[in-house]
Amino acid sequence: MAPRWILKLENIEKDFVFHLQQGTRIVVFDRFSHLFFPGRATILTGPSGTGKSTLLRMIYGTYKTGGGHMWARRRGRPVDIAAAEPAMIYTLRRDTIGYVSQFLRVVPRVSALDTVIEPLLARNMELESARKKGRALLERLNIPSNMWHLSATTFSGGEQQRINLARGFIAPFPILLLDEPTASLDLKNRRIVIDLIKEALADNTCVIGVFHDPKDHRDFADHTIDLAHMLNQEVIQP
C-alpha cells in the first residue's frame, strides 16, 4: 500500500504584483504539484529568489496562494490551506503546522521562557508543566538559566535563533516548516538542532526545510526539490 500523504500541493500558483514598481509581476509558481509524507524530510534547494521561503510561507498561510489547492491532513481530514478561513489557518497553526523562521519576532516584556511555551499554552497545557518542558528545552539548547526570565529583545542573533527553535520544537506538529533554522548557530548548537529534527522525524513529523549549508541536512534528508531546475519563474514587465 502506498504511504498516505500529509500534505498535497496541487497545481499551486503564486505571483507577486508590485503596484508601486510599475506593476511588475513576478511569477514564482505556475501549477506546481508535490506530495509530502509523514516522517520524511524534504529539502528545498536553489539559489536565493527561487521561491524556497515563499513556498514555506504559502504552506503556513502567510502568503496567499494564487491558484490550485494545498491539502493538509488535519486529524485525518484534508483541509485546503489555499481556501481556508482565517480561523482555520489559526487552528492549523495551533495543532498541525509548525514554522521556524530565520528571525525571532520578539515581543517586548515577554520573557524568553514564556515566548517558548506559548504553543503549549495555546493547546491548553497547564502553565507549570509547560514551563517545566520549556526550561528543559532551553537547557538543551544551551541558553543559560539566568536569561530565561528576560525578554529576548536584548539577546544576540544566535540566542534569538535558539529561542525561536525552542518555540518551534516545544510542541509536536505533524508538519514542520524550517527556514534556515541553523543559519546563525555555532557547530555545537547546530548538532543539537539536527538531533531535534531527527527526533521529530522519528516521531513521524513531515519536515520541509531550507538549509544554508548542505552539511546540515545530509544525514537526514530523504528527498530534495530543486526549485532552480523547475525554471518556472519569470518576471513580467507591463
Binding site: T62, K64, P86, V107, A122
Partner: protein
C-alpha cells in the same frame, strides 16, 4: 500575537453594509465584517480613512446613514441601528467598552482613580463601598498601576497610566467587546510596550473581543488576529494580520506597508 479563540462559529458582532455620510462628506461606505468571541480585529489606514467613524458607529456614538450593527444577545442577533433606543443603550453600556486615544476624554479628571472605576461599578449595580474599593484595587493592580495611587486624581498620572486606568474603568463590568480608538498613539515606545502587554494578557485571560483602530502596523501585528485596511471610507483589503502585512495585494496596502520605517 494574542491567542486565537478555539471556536469562532457564532459571531459576537456583525457589521453589515454600514455607511455614514456627514452631509455630502463620506465617513465610511458599505463596510461589512464580523467579530468572533475572543477575536481581535484591527482596522488600519491613514488619518481620515474613516476608521474612527466606523468605530463610533459600532459604539452607538454616531448614527449610521445606512446598514446594520448586529450584536449577539441571549435573544439572538439584535440590530442596534433598528432596535429600541433604550435597548441599544443598554447593550452598549453592558456589553461594550470604549477606549479613546485621549484618556482625558474617557476619564473623569476631577475624581480619583478609584472613583473612576467605582463609578462604573455603581452604574453596573454594585452598592457596597468596601466591595467597590476592593475591586478597584484589584483592577489597578491588573493594569499595573500602584494601588497606593487609588485616591489620586488621574490628572497626576502619566499618559500611559491614564490610558491603563481608562482600560480598567472600561473592563470592570466585564464587557464582551472592547472598542479602541488609537489607544497607543501619543505614548512613548516603552510606555506603549507596557500597554500592549497589558492588553495581550487581558484579551487572552478574559476571552475578550476587540476592535482596534490604529495606524501603527507594528501594534496591529502584535495584537490583532485579522486586519481590515481602510482608504477614503472604503474597506480595500482584509485578511490574517501576517497576510496583510507580509503579502499585501492592493496598491494602497502595499503603499501603507512599505511606508513604515523599520528601526
Amino acid at each position: 500575537m494574542t491567542r486565537m479563540p478555539e471556536n469562532s462559529s457564532q459571531p459576537l458582532l456583525a457589521v453589515q453594509y454600514l455607511s455614514k455620510f456627514f452631509g455630502r462628506q463620506l465617513g465610511c461606505h458599505d463596510i461589512s465584517f464580523a467579530v468572533s468571541p475572543g477575536e481581535v480585529i484591527g482596522v488600519v489606514g491613514e488619518s481620515g480613512s474613516g476608521k474612527s467613524t466606523l468605530l463610533n458607529c459600532i459604539a452607538g456614538r454616531v448614527k449610521p446613514s445606512n446598514g446594520s450593527v448586529f450584536f449577539h444577545s441571549s435573544a439572538g442577533m439584535i440590530d442596534l441601528c433598528r432596535c429600541d433606543e433604550a435597548l441599544m443603550r443598554k447593550i452598549i453600556r453592558t456589553q461594550t467598552g470604549y477606549v479613546t486615544q485621549n484618556a482625558a476624554q474617557g476619564l473623569k479628571m476631577h475624581i480619583s482613580a478609584g472613583g473612576n472605576i467605582g463609578e462604573k461599578l455603581m452604574a453596573g449595580g454594585m452598592r457596597h463601598y468596601g466591595q467597590i474599593r476592593k475591586m478597584a484595587l484589584a483592577w489597578l493592580e491588573r493594569v499595573e498601576i500602584d494601588p497606593d495611587r487609588i485616591d489620586d486624581l488621574p490628572a497626576t498620572f502619566s499618559g500611559g497610566m491614564q490610558q491603563r486606568l481608562q482600560i480598567a474603568a472600561n473592563l470592570v463590568n466585564a464587557p464582551k467587546i472592547m472598542l479602541m480608538d488609537e489607544p497607543t498613539s501619543g505614548l512613548d515606545v516603552s510606555v506603549q510596550a507596557r500597554l500592549i502587554d497589558v492588553l495581550r494578557k487581558l484579551v487572552s485571560g478574559l476571552n475578550l473581543s476587540m476592535v482596534l483602530v490604529t495606524h501603527d502596523l507594528a501594534v496591529a501585528r502584535l495584537l490583532c488576529h485579522r486586519l481590515y485596511v481602510m482608504k477614503q471610507g472604503e474597506m480595500v483589503e482584509s485578511g490574517l494580520s501576517d497576510q496583510i502585512l507580509d503579502d499585501p495585494r492592493q496598491p494602497y496596502t502595499q503603499l501603507l506597508v512599505s511606508s513604515v520605517l523599520k528601526p
